[in-house]
């Protein structure tokens, strides 16, 4: 059994060999806000999940003009393959990749194992920030919120209809025992628990110790056999603010080939604070 879209996932050695390919733009996206500045892959640009991808006033993503401008200043054209990597087993790289897909930029790849794997192999980093000529990236017609993104109302309808909902947070967050991620401070959520009907499949189940993805057979065992998800199911995944669920969205969409997966990026920081949102605890 192979990954459904094996070309999307590339190994560190492949990146080493292709880092100077001008059809590829390497993009680092991290949780650690200063990590890129401490050293990054040669030729990699930095796209920050908060400063670059999100609207700076309301909780939403940049608009189509903002996305075109972001691509333009990073030397990206619609034909550029954006190759994402980052810290935390690629949480934010998967998140950035998902946001690029929101705007219809489909030429994307993810470096398996992310930044930690690259470093563990002793590969080079540089502090030199690359400069690329500004491009003319056409403003996308729309942001495809209705295709791969779910909002609160969508998720509530999904819950009421008992359609497949995947909670990818840690077991303690799912059960309502804690309202913060393990190893993180509380980030402002008022209630603990999960969306009624959601299954608990922590994101971490999809990766090996080194942050690389498990094999297609192992992933199939987790999501298909273990969670009864089928490739044509209408699936919504959520976590706390949408980055861990982007990781699971990537697994289901690209590695297992599920056709209809949406990421509820409002996730638990919206649901757990919403007045009268139904909550299950277990």
């Amino acid at each position: 059994m192979n990954y459904s879209y094996p070309d999307i996932l590339v190994e560190t050695q492949w990146v080493e060999e292709n880092k100077n390919n001008d059809q590829i733009r390497i993009v680092e996206s991290n949780e650690d806000v200063l990590l890129y500045d401490t050293g990054h892959l040669e030729g990699a640009v930095h796209i920050d999940w908060r400063a670059d991808l999100q609207d700076q006033v309301q909780r939403d993503y940049i608009d189509v003009s903002g996305f075109a401008e972001l691509c333009s200043r990073n030397g990206i054209t619609p034909d550029t393959t954006c190759l994402f990597y980052g810290d935390k087993s690629n949480w934010w790289a998967a998140y950035a990749l998902w946001v690029f897909r929101l705007f219809g930029h489909d030429k994307v790849k993810l470096m398996n194992g992310g930044r930690d794997k690259w470093m563990s192999e002793g590969r080079a980093l540089t502090r030199e920030v690359p400069q690329f000529a500004k491009t003319e990236y056409p403003v996308p017609v729309s942001r495809k919120d209705d295709e791969i993104r779910a909002f609160y109302a969508d998720t509530l309808a999904h819950s009421n209809a008992r359609k497949p909902l995947i909670d990818v947070r840690s077991p303690g967050e799912y059960s309502g025992e804690v309202t913060h991620m393990p190893e993180y401070p509380q980030e402002g959520v008022l209630r603990g628990g999960h969306v009624p009907g959601a299954s608990s499949v922590p994101w971490k189940e999809a990766v090996n110790e080194d942050g690389t993805f498990k094999s297609a057979e192992e992933l199939d065992q987790i999501y298909n056999v273990g969670c009864s998800l089928k490739p044509d199911d209408d699936i919504v995944a959520y976590c706390r603010i949408g980055e861990r669920s982007s990781h699971t969205w990537f697994v289901l969409t690209y590695l297992l080939g599920y056709k209809n997966v949406r990421n509820y990026d409002g996730s638990w920081t919206e649901w757990g604070n919403m007045v009268r949102a139904p909550i299950e605890r277990s």
């Binding site: 949780e31 650690d32 806000v33 200063l34 990590l35 500045d37 401490t38 908060r50 400063a51 913060h180 393990p182 190893e183 993180y184 401070p185 509380q186 980030e187 603010i241």
Partner: protein, 156 residues
Amino acid sequence: MSYPARLQSIIDLFESLPDQAKRENLIAMADSAKKFEPQEGQTYTLEDVRKDEECTDTVGIYLTVQDQSQCNFHVSLGPQVQTLTRAMTSILCKGLDGLSPDEIMEIPADFVPKIVGADLVRQRSQTTYYVLSRMKGVCKVWLNRKRAAESESNSS
């Protein structure tokens, strides 16, 4: 609000910097966190090394109190600790050096965004405040022990 002189001078420096220079100085501070690692063979007045639930890695606080009033900190940071937290460690080790435990307990945390810049203090970078709270925790233990010893001494 005025802060202790050394900390105030660091705050003044960062507040005067444009964003890019601020980032560069924070990276330099993060790089210099190694200078404040505990020294092998050195003994400290108090050591508090632990991995808390809300932090990504182990952080050790090593306090020396000279002449019952002057604090000096060394800090060990696990490899998963964020860059911003490393930078804040250097800043605190420099900025709080020589202060008394009582003075450290009174320092409000509101200087953090002045140094780091409000844009960088956000979700997933809140551990920037963590090292200060750990340093205060060690000072509190030291003060409690001192008061207990004084109370015991007065009653005997």
